[in-house]
Point group: C2
Chain length 306, copies 2
């Protein structure tokens, strides 16, 4: 059943949707385009494309601590393909329904496959997670595990994945937007970003916009057992730090809120790992378990055009 | 100078924009994608693409009677091209600035040229122009003139335009969104649509959604002198009724509001022509000046893939 919300005064079918924002709430809005061959490999199933294109947009709401509300979809398709469209819609709706997200508009055009989604959520006026609100002394946390999706993509493109690596492919194709985590975090944090382009790049945005630096202890980065099993003793930190698509939240808190982390972890059954701290200055410094600096080539994540 | 609005709490640069909707206002939202080769010919200048992609979205706000506020832009470009981008931005900004429209986000991706714009405006709670609000007995009006953009496209594609036909090309490339007209119309009308796919198709939407029919007197359709000069005695009604891209407003009023039309025309210097009336039943009937039925082939507007 499609979601029907009371705050949608007029939905699909007119020149515009008409929407109601409750008093005391502000609107959080984000747009992301996904292009075949750039943001997902050509062999990705329609269902996974539908799921993922919405998931990456929901992740932007999560990174603001917002409550999802509405979504619009602009879909460009090379040809009429009812089977593809049905599967795309199922993947999309599965996720939309689970967040009570109503489709309020969109556009379908003919052309090379691309999906532009605009997502809308609500935040309370004083409680948002911004990129420019980190302060020296803050602890840096990361939800979930890092590097799985990037490794999953490598395996997929090399067609070398084994059954036990299916988890990594799932992390690539079906990221879990951290909506409930974001909504809890607004109580203890003012600063977050979602890791879409790699921790190195995304934490870099926080540092730039907050005018500060960061120190990350590599040994504290949360890694999945599947990723560790793949790398064995020879962990490729460069890949892990520059690989995107994990859609985990990187956030900062004042140290006095540290004991709240365990409460959120237990409440939401999510892993939140302290990976370092915000420092004065600029740039990200990586250190080993003995606090010695480690050089990491600064490489952005170009999705799968690596 | 880029527009800076007070209701934009957080603009470009974070995971989401954060926006404020004033009390008593509702949000009007619309999305349109423009694909090169479908929505504009390949020879269209970057400046005109920037202008037009925003204009067609503004036209959706006009058709709701909304006040423009914010816009987001998802741009897919085949290659880095600073000159193209500069000109596109100039065309876009020219129109954005004239409506105090602030760019609040977007996404740039690599791929075949396409532009998806999402536009946001405000409406007062009780005053919107919907497609489903026409009633038998309503008079049907049209702003401006009809068929110019479609004819301009034909001339452009046949490379046969002459100096005196430049007006028709301008109508294609630089449509004037009827924002101020829409804002006045909410005082006397409850029903409007913008003519993007041709009067026949778009008035058809009003009829379907309002469960009514329409009777249009061809002799009362407002035509530009340039269009009339082109056709001479042999007016191609089929082309005029099925050609889109004019972005004029088609709206209905109760007959008792008829004397308000002149006031709006004078105030805004816009031509508003009565072209027929809403009838019980279904479908659109075309009549000549002696009220005899005229058969018009029902042909949708497929932009320039005609």
């Amino acid at each position: 059943m499609p979601v029907r919300r009371k705050d949608v005064v007029l939905g699909i079918g007119d020149d515009c949707a008409i929407l109601e924002v409750a008093e005391g709430k502000q609107l959080a809005v984000s747009t992301d385009t996904l292009i075949e061959g750039t943001h997902f490999p050509r062999q990705t199933s329609a269902r996974n494309i539908g799921y993922k294109s919405l998931a990456v947009n929901l992740s932007d709401l999560a990174a603001m601590g917002a409550e999802p509300a509405w979504v619009s979809l602009a879909l460009t398709l090379p040809e009429e393909n009812p089977v593809w469209l049905k599967e795309f819609s199922e993947g999309f709706s599965e996720l939309a329904n689970s967040y009570q997200l109503q489709l309020i508009g969109g556009d379908t055009t003919r052309g090379p496959l691309s999906i532009t989604i605009q997502i809308f959520g609500f935040v309370n006026k004083t409680r948002t997670l911004r990129r420019d609100a980190a302060q020296p002394g803050d602890l840096i946390y990361l939800s979930g595990t890092l590097g799985d999706a990037g490794l999953g993509l490598d395996l997929l493109l090399n067609q070398s994945q084994q059954t036990e690596q299916q988890f990594l492919i799932e992390r690539l194709n079906r990221p879990q937007p951290r909506i409930t985590t974001g909504k809890e975090l607004v109580k203890i944090s003012q600063c977050a970003i979602d890791v879409s382009d790699g921790l190195s790049a995304d934490l870099g945005h926080i540092c730039e916009q907050s005018n500060c630096g960061a120190e990350i202890k590599l040994a504290d980065l949360p890694l999945s057992k599947e990723l560790k099993a793949f790398y064995g003793a020879d962990i490729n930190w460069n890949n892990i730090l520059s690989s995107g698509d994990d859609y985990e939240l990187c956030f900062t808190i004042r140290p006095e809120y540290q004991d709240q982390i365990k409460i959120i972890e237990d409440k939401l059954n999510v892993k939140l790992s302290c990976i370092g701290k915000i420092t004065p200055g600029a740039g990200i410094k990586y250190i080993d378990k003995d606090n010695r600096p480690v050089q990491i080539a600064d490489k952005g994540y170009d999705h799968f055009n690596k």
